[in-house]
């Protein structure tokens, strides 16, 4: 099966600019996650979607970050305006949901590496 697709792979922007990332999950996966991974750290959840509804966005900096998942498939994550501390890899992941959901692992894309200068 095709994996989680993300684009772009790399992005360099100046602080205060805006940027958007795109994710296409594994076909049939109802749950989609955006994680932020700062160099040398583990991934940190930003937002979780169940179909096109938000399940958890408690760690999303809502003053500058936004995300949407239209039609319950693809998703975009936007940062506006960017800060230096937003430099990180943004990982998208997907998983199944429903009976036995607790057993389903997250499948990750290769991420977008963002550098804010």
């Amino acid at each position: 099966e095709a994996g989680v697709a993300q684009s772009p792979r790399y992005k360099i922007i100046e602080k205060r600019q805006s940027v958007a990332f795109w994710c296409n999950p594994i076909s049939g996966h109802a749950t989609l996650y955006w994680y932020q991974q700062i160099l040398g750290q583990g991934p940190k959840l930003l937002i979780q979607f169940q179909n096109n509804g938000v399940v958890d966005d408690s760690q999303l900096p809502k003053d500058r970050f936004s995300a949407e998942r239209l039609k319950g498939v693809d998703s975009t994550l936007k940062i506006q305006p960017a800060k230096l501390e937003d430099s990180a890899v943004y990982l998208c992941a997907s998983s199944t949901w429903g009976v036995g959901a607790y057993s389903s692992p997250l499948h990750f894309g290769n991420g977008t590496r963002l550098t804010v200068t």
């Binding site: 996650y33 583990g42 959840l45 979780q48 607790y102 057993s103 997250l106």
Partner: protein, 111 residues
């Protein structure tokens, strides 16, 4: 607060030198412990899921074990291609099934 701690932060082994990585956790209502491998420039790749104390899973040179407070990833006779960052994550109870990750162990296996 739910917390996952991995040790050591980095580990350098000679090819064939077996060792273990540790993942300790403090969570309310564990719903599974996951091990992932992450290569440079790639996303985490799923290795194992463990659910209950005493459970073990194996894959090639890797074996994961689980107790009530920690998990170990044992690497037997490692090869250079086992070099990667190994991430541990826990799934906690509640409305979501999100994973909370540790900071990882960077493993380097030298020939």
């Amino acid at each position: 607060e739910d917390q996952v701690t991995q040790s050591p932060e980095a580990l350098r082994l000679q090819e064939g030198e077996s060792s273990s990585l540790n993942c300790s956790y403090t969570v309310s209502g564990l719903r599974g412990l996951f091990w992932y491998r992450q290569d440079p420039g790639k996303g985490p790749e799923f290795l194992f899921t463990l659910y209950s104390a005493g459970e073990e899973k194996e894959k090639e040179r890797l074996k994961a074990t689980l107790t009530k407070k920690e998990s170990f990833l044992h690497i037997t006779a490692p090869k250079p291609e086992d070099s990667a960052t190994y991430l541990c994550a826990v799934r906690v109870g509640g409305a979501t099934n999100k994973l909370i990750f540790g900071t990882g162990t960077l493993l380097a296996v030298q020939p």
